[in-house]
Symmetry: C2
Subunit: 303 residues, 2 copies
């Protein structure tokens, strides 16, 4: 083991989280801030970091690893993408050092599929963490969200992945489309029956371009109450994402994310007859810990 | 022939068009106004109509037929939907009379498919007109737009149809999604090569939730110039709509709409190996003329 403690940081588009990991890689203290990279002006990343974590970085052996959009063009320092297939060793060998030996950013991944490039930043770290926590070397994982990622892992390395703009499509339809006039102002309580109805329809095979319109017509003819429509639409969009996946009946899926969202995906996968297990945001800390252990000692600042 | 002249009106959400049709059903004068139903307050439809077409309605034998969203809840007078299958005779027998014998609104259609209702208002009239103009009794027709309609006709009657929110999805992605940051502010010139590339990718089978993201990554890696991205995205969305259709190689499709849009659909259908012919907005006048000829004489105001 090269690293005995770690400041693990998840710095995304809209939020900033950090944890101090002890010698067993356990988070002993966590902090979160509404300081996503979109709120930080160019040149202001160092002071923002200092104000959030400066006290922790005073410790003599402090090492900080960060993942997420902080490594993008709009972030602190651009960390070039690693090409798939890639494991956490490749990622550890391609860190972008903000302060040599002390603060580094984990690179994102790029893969090529069907003649098209695809990219991720931050999800690779969550995947490596989930593999560690679950003791897996081969898995199909999904990280639901604004841009969901489906990730195939073999022998501990990410072979390929694909992005689905599921959360963003839901928000666009919810807020800006003609459906927004039919839907209630607030999402209200989750309606699992309406959600399942949406998933089932989407899995039957028609395009979201068509099924989305049923949100309007079912309401027009009083076949679904207005309060059930947001859950129904959520089911349509998530169901469309699942329909697009190649899943054998014996495929086992790992879902990484918040409790509410991973629960929806687990329910939707069950309607496709696919078992799944869920894991939360602790995957990020475990991933950063695993990457840190692989950093070559010559790169670390000795004290 | 019951009706010898007709004021034909297409009153939609965002525009109002009218034509005076002579004894052969030909438009001898046309007018158009930026007075879609969204601009007209409840109770103001009669004066709006009077200001646009009052002089024409002074003629002693004047009969006016209107189609489109003017017959919706938000329009002048709600015209209840006719149930499919329906031909222009059923539609003519279910007109909603604003002024008995003088001014009537054509009802929309409702059909049930896969346990879901679907609706149209205005497109039924264009379909009936296209059938008349092309001398067809059996056809598959598409009316591209904000909400595209695919319509199956047998023996002159609309058997079923399905709505695809294609134009609206394009606008949502174009204006409100993360892709809007990548796309140029103006659509610029149409790029047929980029359009075909988008259609071809969509026809290969992955969901728009996934393919849409390639608009971003192709730009990120300089594989497509920014100026080509709007045409590429248009191809992705229209290609997704076409992929969702059951089309045999010998299917013949009629495309009804504006020259620019029907040209895109004809090109996209050619990439699926499906021949298509195009027809313009004259279909609306021909449809209203055909419906007018079927009105029972007892319903017409004699002069």
């Amino acid at each position: 083991m090269n690293v005995r403690t770690l400041l693990a940081v998840d710095w995304g588009t809209s939020s900033l989280r950090g944890a101090w990991l002890d010698a067993r890689g356990q988070a002993v203290e966590e902090r979160s801030f509404a300081r996503g990279i979109l709120t930080v002006a160019p040149g202001e990343f160092a002071p923002a970091f200092e104000s959030c974590f400066g006290d922790w970085m005073q410790r003599p052996d402090a090492l900080c690893l960060m993942s997420g959009m902080v490594g993008s063009k709009q972030g602190w320092l651009e960390a070039p993408y690693c090409t798939c297939p890639a494991g956490f060793e490749e990622v550890a060998a391609n860190l972008a050092w903000v302060k040599p030996g002390r603060v580094a950013i984990v690179p994102g991944l790029v893969c090529e599929h069907d003649g098209l490039p695809d990219v991720m930043r931050g999800e690779e770290t969550q995947v490596f963490g989930a593999l560690q926590l679950l003791g897996l070397q081969d898995a199909l994982l999904v990280l639901p969200g604004t841009h969901s990622k489906w990730v195939r892992v073999q022998a501990g390395r990410i072979q390929s992945f694909a992005t689905f703009m599921t959360g963003e499509f839901f928000a666009l339809l919810r807020q800006h489309s003609i459906l927004s006039r039919t839907l209630p102002a607030s999402d209200g309580a989750f309606d699992s029956e309406a959600f399942d109805q949406g998933v089932t329809l989407a899995l039957r095979g028609n395009s979201l371009l068509h099924t989305a319109f049923s949100t309007r017509t079912l309401s027009l003819f009083d076949r679904l109450p207005a309060a059930a429509l947001p859950s129904y639409l959520s089911g349509l969009v998530i169901g469309e994402e699942l329909r697009a996946q190649t899943l054998q009946a014996n495929t086992h899926v790992v879902i990484i994310g918040s409790a509410a969202l991973t629960q929806r995906y687990q329910n939707a996968l069950a309607l496709r007859g696919v078992p799944a297990q869920r894991i939360g945001s602790e995957a990020t800390w475990a991933g950063l810990w695993a990457i840190a252990q692989t950093i070559h000692p010559s790169l670390l600042k000795t004290v």
